[in-house]
Symmetry: C2
Subunit: 376 residues, 2 copies
């Protein structure tokens, strides 16, 4: 199901085989919250370089409902996306609800932000919902450990996630035949906060249960870059070489490069899409904030090295204008650019690993970002 084709240092060039196709790794997955990557048609996603995307269980179970999506043939059919889909467990969004949710051993109960109904999410129901969606990669339900957390608190949270991971594994195996996508894979999630020893315990527990892939959760939650690097540096060498490694909710282009350098294979983040809609644009020379008045008359594209539809056809002045007028087309074109930028970056990293030039490439990328950053 997963094959490492080439390595360069710890960086891995791999291929992930899933029911809806194979994915070249390292890969970045855009977020398709409500069954759509905001402002992008499936054709445009493919054109921007998307191989695989993420669907949000929490959102989709509330609207339009996972049973309805099942009745309509699963999420792929529903949204017209024929490539692989990974779904999160719904847990992360539930925990973001704060006071609106109540957690116990069984699971978590929350008040629907859509209609106020009480909704329960358990390891078993999360797996069932994801089975109804028909995703290719199903994630276990975990508790996203608070940050900062004392060692005891981080440990208890990690252990709860471990018991839930076991229940998810069982529910997944029991329910496989009734799933919309019986060939789906199940990934476990390493927790343990910022404590390397807890991360190790978490990983060992998950390995004992056995999963198709291993994700790293609970990072990009407000910790310093140093903390993230420290945890990743300690954890990644312990992770099994033959399974895909997925760093959840990460991150900036710089985070992606650092993650790949340490051996991460998969990423997802709302950053390119959300920031794109808000005129915060990635380029080889750093960030371009399109709302800045200096772009009002600029005839330059966002990034003169970029080959995307937006950069080939539109000026910063035009995007500045569209953004100022609140025109949908601005969000569409800027999302397209940011996704193209992320996917192109991953393609460059993949190629560099294949040709043994990973360090040269990363030095050159950071050099460009640091020396030309337009956002400063």
């Amino acid at each position: 199901m997963f094959e490492v084709l080439e390595t360069d240092g710890q960086a891995r060039r791999g291929r992930l085989q899933l029911p809806h196709g194979s994915v070249e790794t390292p890969v970045f997955q855009p977020c398709g919250t409500y069954g759509t990557v905001k402002g992008m048609t499936p054709v445009e996603l493919t054109r921007a370089g998307t191989q695989m995307l993420l669907g949000n269980t929490f959102h989709l179970m509330l609207r339009p409902g996972d049973q309805q999506i099942r009745d309509l043939g699963g999420l792929h059919n529903f949204m017209g996306w024929s490539g692989p889909i990974l779904t999160d467990s719904g847990g992360f969004q539930v925990f973001s609800l704060g006071d609106l949710r109540k957690l116990d051993e069984q699971g978590v109960v929350f008040k629907s932000p859509v209609n106020g109904d009480k909704v329960q999410l358990t390891p078993e129901s999360s797996i069932q919902v994801q089975g109804n969606l028909g995703s290719d990669v199903v994630m276990v339900l975990d508790e996203c450990t608070a940050h900062p957390a004392a060692p005891k608190q981080a440990e208890e949270s990690m252990l709860l996630s471990m018991r839930w991971a076991r229940r998810c594994r069982d529910a997944f195996d029991r329910g496989r035949e009734e799933s919309v996508n019986p060939g789906a894979k199940l990934f476990g999630i390493v927790q343990g906060g910022m404590y390397e020893n807890l991360r190790q315990v978490s990983l060992e527990g998950l390995l004992e249960i056995g999963f198709d892939g291993y994700a790293i959760g609970g990072l990009s939650v407000g910790e310093s870059k140093e903390d993230m690097d420290r945890v990743l540096s300690a954890l990644l060498p312990l992770m099994p070489g033959g399974s895909p490694r997925y760093l959840m909710g990460v991150g900036t282009p710089q985070d992606l490069v650092r993650g790949v350098a340490l051996g991460v294979d998969m990423f997802d983040c709302v950053m390119p899409t959300r920031n794109g809609r808000n005129g915060y644009l990635f380029s080889h020379s750093g960030v371009v904030k399109i709302r800045n008045a200096k772009h009002k008359n600029s005839q330059r594209p966002i990034d003169d090295r970029c080959e995307c539809y937006t950069c080939k056809n539109f000026t910063r002045a035009y995007l500045h204008h569209l953004d100022r007028c609140g025109e949908m087309l601005g969000a569409m074109l800027m999302t397209h650019h940011n996704l193209h930028y992320y996917h192109k970056l991953m393609a460059q990293l993949r190629e560099a690993i294949e040709t043994g030039t990973f360090r040269t490439l990363t030095r050159s990328l950071f050099n460009d970002w640091n020396n030309n950053d337009e956002s400063v």
Copy 2:
């Protein structure tokens, strides 16, 4: 510049030669208010069948400003649209401001809804702004006659528009060389409210001045279908056969068919785009209101006879869901469908005129609309 290739009854199949290309008529022009047809890239517009579009002088002179668009190479360059563009005079939007504007012989002064500045629009400044935008077809500034209007009021308004039309002609001829698009054409606008005799006087005055094309203004302002048909039926036979005839701000698919039957060559309207964004969708069997709960689980496309990207790939259930979640993609896909529907309708009408089957086609169209209307 304009050639009638074929006729069938009063319906005309023509070709309009403009600096940015030739246009097959009868043609429908979508509205690109702020330098974008909302939710559509230029490539998508072409894919939906758009030949020519309309830009709004009023909006563009306020944001980003016509001088800026001129500095950036004109509206075509600015928005990345290489086909023909027609611009309105700005008058219609100014008159919609109600108490915020003041009219006299010289022109109209209004308070900018963007920043509160006092802005003046005169026949001369409207022509200059349109010259800065670089449109292919420039419209004269006219006063949109109130509706309903007493004969005296309608006559005075029409006569003011006539004096302004003269000044527009002069300003256009004087300023041609400084325009971004020196090959642009100038259209006059027939006014006169619901009074056939005033319409005739207006047309004769415009013919005396001489324009490249003749538009019919002041319809689709709340009058009955019978009033519209009566005015058009009286006016169109008087219009010169060798010049294009443009019915402004019209209309529904039924209005387009009736207009073409009477000899109209050009139309524009916000209806397909605005209604598309609001889930009001045109189909061969009438209107589909996507917000209706009955579409929640429908696996049908909007229109099973439609070949557009939306109908080929997405169900009503999915569009209903996107609309309910306020997802941009819903507006994009539904706008695409409605524009495709309008352009396809015009293509069918053009073909029917060529083959002498116009009456057969219109009977069949109305039969489908009336007998299957899903909106009732």
